[in-house]
């Protein structure tokens, strides 16, 4: 009777070990189908995921896995070969000359204010004064009153780099009241605060404004902030969304990149309010 108690215990353990081995062997086979892995910027990822899905329709045994983790991860994984293609929402810096970039789409960056803010436009100098803290109150700009709530982007973000280079300020000079990460979060901050000013991708701004979010994009250097202005290259602040690869792509990866730049996907690019490359 007492012996009976311990007997199942021994048998149970060997059964466990057997099932673990079985699980692992099955797993190895599951990955035979060919996969293209993309990692990188969370701004580009939604677009590439849709393009990947459409590309998969015409290539049955191909699987395209799009992962996020930020532009720096895209560069690192592409260089280390962990990912076939890296996604970067900015032009390559000179330290990244070893990678080759393929521009996927363009995206303008515009300043946005709360809808109720009476200010219609801002000159370049006014923007520099606001962001460096020389101007603190809307009354010093024109109509409207109240301390300005300056919204800046986090270190390393592509829109921040673009903003700093365009207005040639150093990131340590910017005096901000709030620092945000993604564009959508930036828009929600501005929508929630009538005295706030910030800069986001034009695509997001136009969409959310269209959906009734109380924000309005500001024209810059006289050019109104619309997707067409970016398409006709009239808008000064534009960033490119790139796919980066370590060595010259070949085979299905090359085909996929060409497909992503082709005009078969312009409807997808427009659906996410970016400007397709082709035109």
């Amino acid at each position: 009777m007492i012996r009976a108690i311990s007997f199942p215990f021994r048998k149970g353990r060997s059964f466990l070990a057997l099932s673990v081995m079985a699980l692992l062997s099955v797993a190895a086979s599951a990955h035979a189908a060919e996969t293209i892995v993309l990692t990188g910027s969370s701004t580009v990822a939604p677009l590439m995921a849709e393009i990947g899905k459409r590309f998969e329709e015409t290539h049955p045994n191909l699987r395209i896995d799009v992962q996020t983790g930020g532009s720096s991860r895209g560069v690192r994984d592409a260089r280390a070969g962990l990912a076939d293609i890296g996604m970067v929402s900015r032009p390559l810096t000179d330290s990244e000359r070893d990678l080759t970039a393929f521009t996927l789409a363009y995206d303008g960056v515009a300043f946005i204010l709360h809808k109720s803010n009476p200010v219609k436009t801002l000159t370049r100098q006014q923007i520099i004064d606001i962001f460096t803290g020389k101007v603190r109150d809307w009354s010093e700009i024109g109509p409207g009153r109240g301390t300005i709530v300056v919204e800046n982007k986090a270190e390393g973000r592509s829109t921040l780099e673009l903003f700093l280079t365009h207005f040639d300020i150093k990131s340590s000079d910017v005096k901000a009241a709030v620092v945000v990460g993604d564009n959508q979060e930036a828009i929600k901050v501005i929508a929630g605060n009538p005295l706030a000013i910030g800069y986001v991708s034009i695509g997001s701004a136009v969409t959310e404004a269209g959906l009734g979010v109380p924000i309005k994009p500001l024209p810059m250097d006289g050019v109104e902030a619309t997707i067409d202005a970016v398409k006709q290259k009239r808008f000064p602040l534009v960033r490119e969304l790139n796919l980066v690869v370590r060595k010259q792509p070949e085979g299905v990866v090359k085909e996929f990149i060409a497909y992503a730049q082709s005009d078969q996907v312009t409807d997808l690019v427009k659906d996410l309010y970016y400007v397709p490359v082709g035109h």
């Binding site: 108690i5 797993a27 799009v66 993604d182 959508q184 969409t207 959906l211 309010y273």
Partner: protein, 285 residues
């Protein structure tokens, strides 16, 4: 002389009723906001179809499947580990022994590690070192590491709550430690264990940052545990922070997540009452 005053105003009564009321009010405020925005296009097809237009349309079928897989992998790994460690801490080792204090301190520090660091740890350890790459398995394992501290602490507390009289009673009847634990201690401590599991599931379902780096972003229907799968919270995160015009869909997905939570909590309560009837355990009077 001792008749009750008509209304015995007790300052503490106000305090004790005020706290839950504020918490419930805020909860209703949050959930109300979510329901208001997301309830309109909610339909059965939404729970089954695959997402379209980067999630703004179509359903969340594959994402629900990935979420359930991730949570079950997480619980399947975390609960046995937690039960083992908690049993050791509560039953086999004196509370103040150095071994127990080291285990407890290391778990408490683990409980404080931010979810983003867990994501990086998961992707470095499970994804690259163990070669699981972006997969539901590595997501589940990372989550298991995250919820272990909560599980172990609550289970240990519930085991300590079992009166000593039952342990002595079991010993006096000549039950071995193992059998006493299985037939007497764990059934009596079941309510506390249940609380721990509920908190663990709550944390696992609510996790975003860690899963982005481990279980991934792919919203295709996973074919095996080693496929990358997007969890529901990651989907909500992506829709609300990365996809322009994605808010309505984010709220819709949040409603489904809350329903999923209600389902899991309800399920746990049924398991508990079933357990009580089967084991014949009656609540302590």
């Amino acid at each position: 002389m001792i008749e009750r005053s008509r209304f015995r105003f007790d300052g503490h009564l106000l305090l004790v009723w005020a706290a839950p009321l504020t918490i419930t009010a805020i909860f209703v405020w949050i959930v109300g906001g979510v329901l208001l925005h997301g309830l309109d296009q909610l339909s059965w097809s939404y729970l089954v179809e695959a997402p379209r237009r980067a999630g703004r349309q179509g359903g969340i079928g594959p994402i629900l499947v990935s979420t359930l897989l991730i949570v079950s992998v997480c619980l399947a790994v975390a609960i046995p580990l937690a039960l083992g460690a908690a049993l050791l801490l509560a039953e086999f080792v004196p509370r103040r022994s150095t071994g127990a204090r080291i285990v407890r301190l290391s778990l408490d520090v683990l409980a404080g590690v931010p979810s983003i660091v867990f994501g990086l740890f998961g992707s470095a350890f499970f994804c690259s070192l163990l070669g699981l790459r972006f997969s539901i398995l590595s997501g589940g394992l990372t989550l298991a590491c995250m919820i272990l501290p909560v599980l172990i602490r609550t289970i240990e507390q519930s085991l300590r709550g079992v009166p000593n009289a039952y342990r002595m009673g079991a010993a006096a009847l000549g039950l071995t430690r193992t059998r006493a634990i299985v037939t007497v201690l764990l059934p009596v401590a079941a309510p506390g264990v249940l609380v721990g599991v509920l908190l663990g599931v709550g944390r696992a379902v609510a996790e975003t940052a860690a899963l982005i780096f481990t279980s991934g972003y792919v919203d295709r229907m996973p074919s095996s545990v080693l496929d990358s799968g997007r969890a529901l919270s990651v989907h909500i995160f992506d829709l609300s922070l990365n996809v322009p015009g994605g808010d309505a869909a984010a709220y819709r997905a949040s409603i489904v997540l809350l329903l999923l939570l209600m389902l899991i909590n309800g399920g746990m309560l049924c398991i508990h009452s079933l357990l009580k009837r089967v084991m014949g355990i009656s609540a302590q009077i």
